[in-house]
Point group: C2
Chain length 243, copies 2
C-alpha cells in the first residue's frame, strides 16, 4: 500500500487506461523509478484500484486499472471547516491534520485580526498538502480546498450545505460541542465549523455570522488557533463512535 | 490575564512573599519591563493568585501573593501519555498540544523503530514547552514530564497509576477508544495511553506491554505519530462531555 498514486477526481472503472497527473507521473517515474509492468494502487473520486504501469513516454505514466480496492470509510458526519490564514505555516498544518481526520471540505478565509495574508495563488500548495495527507493516511477522498475573502463569504460558500453551523469561541463557552451535537435532531449528516485566528474573532465578524451559527466551547483551556479545529474534528468522530 | 508567571510547583498561600524562578524573573523584569508595584498573576502547584511585584535586585523578582484566582478545571479523567521521541520537533509539538488538552503527565520514551534519540538533557526544554503552553492556555497545573529508556520502562514508571492502559495501534483496530472507555466500570478516573513512532510499534515492544494493555483504534485512517495522541486526548474529553 506504500505506492499509492492520485489520478484526479474523475470517475474510475476497472479496465480503464489513464494518464497520471504530471506531478504524480514524475513521482512514480523519477522518485520511485517505476517501470512498465510495475504494480501499484491508484485512487481518485472516492475510489481506489489496483493498477499496472502499462506505458510511459518518460514524462507521463499511463496505468491500467484492475480490481477496485476498498479504502477507509469516510466519517459518518461530513465535516466542513472554515479556518483562517494563520502565520507560521499553521494553515498548512491545519490542512494536513484536518485531512487526516476526515474533513470533507476546508474553506480558508481572511480573518480581520490576523496579519497573515492569503490569496488564491496559495491554493495549489494547500491542495497538494491535502493530497499528500490522503496518501499518508490511506484516505481515498481528497478534501475540497477553497479560499474566501472573509468569514462572511466563507459561510456563503457553504450555503448549500444543510449541516449545523458552529463557531468555536472559547470566550463564550457555556455549551460544549458534544452536548450541542447530542441535542441536534437525527440524522446528523453534516456539520460546519468556523474557527478564529490567533487574535480571536473581531466583533464585526461575530455580528456577520447569522443567527443559525451556534457558539460552542472546546473545554475550559484556551486552545490555540491551530488546535481548536482539530479538537472539534476529533470530538465529532468521538461523538459518532468512530474513534 | 496576559501577565501570568510561574512560581514553581510549591504550596502557595495568600500573603506569602516568593521569588520567581530565574527565567520567569528575567521575563518579568527584562521582556515585560516590570516595575515594583506592578500587578500580575502567578500560578504553581495547581493554584493561581493575583500578585504584586514588591521587590527586585535587578535579577530576581519578588512577588507578594494576594487573592486566589480560579483557573480552568483539570479534566475529570486524568490522562497520562507515553509518547516516543520523534524527529523534526514532533515530540516538542506533542508536549505543547497535550498540555493544552489537559494531560497530567507525559513520559517520553525511546522507541525501537525511531531514529530520533532522546536523553535526559532534553527534559528541561520539554518542561519549558509545557510551561509556556500552560501560560498560553491559562492552565494552572503544569504536566509532569519525564523520560524512559523504552516503552517497558515507561509503563513501569506509571505502575502506581490505577488507570486503564491503552495502546494506540492503527493496525489492530477492531475496538474504538470511546467504546472501550464506555465499557470500563465507573468511576473512570485515569487513563494511560501509549502511542508509537513513525515507523510503528516493534513486535517486541508489543510483547513487552503486558496483558492489561488494551489496543484501540483511532478510526479508519492512519494517523501520524504526532496526531494520534492528540486525537486520543480529545476523544477522552469528548467522552466526558468536556468539549
Amino acid at each position: 500500500m506504500s505506492s499509492r498514486f492520485y489520478c484526479g477526481d474523475q470517475p474510475l472503472v476497472t479496465g480503464q487506461r489513464i494518464d497520471l497527473p504530471a506531478e504524480e507521473s514524475r513521482h512514480l517515474l523519477k522518485t520511485m523509478r517505476g517501470r512498465v509492468g510495475d504494480r501499484l494502487v491508484v485512487f481518485g473520486g472516492g475510489r481506489q484500484y489496483a493498477a499496472e504501469l502499462v506505458a510511459t513516454d518518460g514524462k507521463r505514466a499511463t496505468v491500467e486499472l484492475g480490481e477496485q480496492v476498498s479504502g477507509p470509510a469516510e466519517p459518518q458526519i461530513q465535516m466542513t471547516f472554515l479556518v483562517p490564514w494563520i502565520k507560521g505555516g499553521k494553515t498548512e498544518f491545519l490542512i494536513q491534520k484536518l485531512t487526516e481526520l476526515g474533513a470533507a471540505r476546508v474553506i480558508v478565509f481572511q480573518a480581520r485580526r490576523e496579519v497573515a495574508k492569503g490569496d488564491d495563488s496559495k491554493i495549489d500548495r494547500l491542495a497538494r498538502i491535502a493530497l499528500e495527507a490522503c496518501k499518508q493516511c490511506e484516505r481515498v477522498t481528497v478534501p475540497e480546498i477553497s479560499t474566501a475573502a472573509s468569514i462572511k463569504t466563507a459561510f456563503e460558500s457553504a450555503a448549500g450545505d444543510p449541516g449545523a453551523r458552529f463557531i468555536l469561541h472559547e470566550r463564550d463557552g457555556s455549551r460544549t460541542l458534544t452536548a450541542t451535537l447530542a441535542a441536534l435532531p437525527a440524522p446528523r449528516e453534516s456539520v460546519i465549523f468556523a474557527s478564529g485566528p490567533e487574535g480571536g474573532w473581531h466583533p464585526e465578524e461575530l455580528a456577520e455570522m447569522g443567527d443559525d451559527v451556534v457558539s460552542v466551547t472546546m473545554g475550559p483551556r484556551i486552545l490555540r488557533a491551530e488546535t481548536a479545529p482539530l479538537v472539534a474534528a476529533a470530538a465529532v468522530l468521538a461523538f459518532a463512535g468512530e474513534i
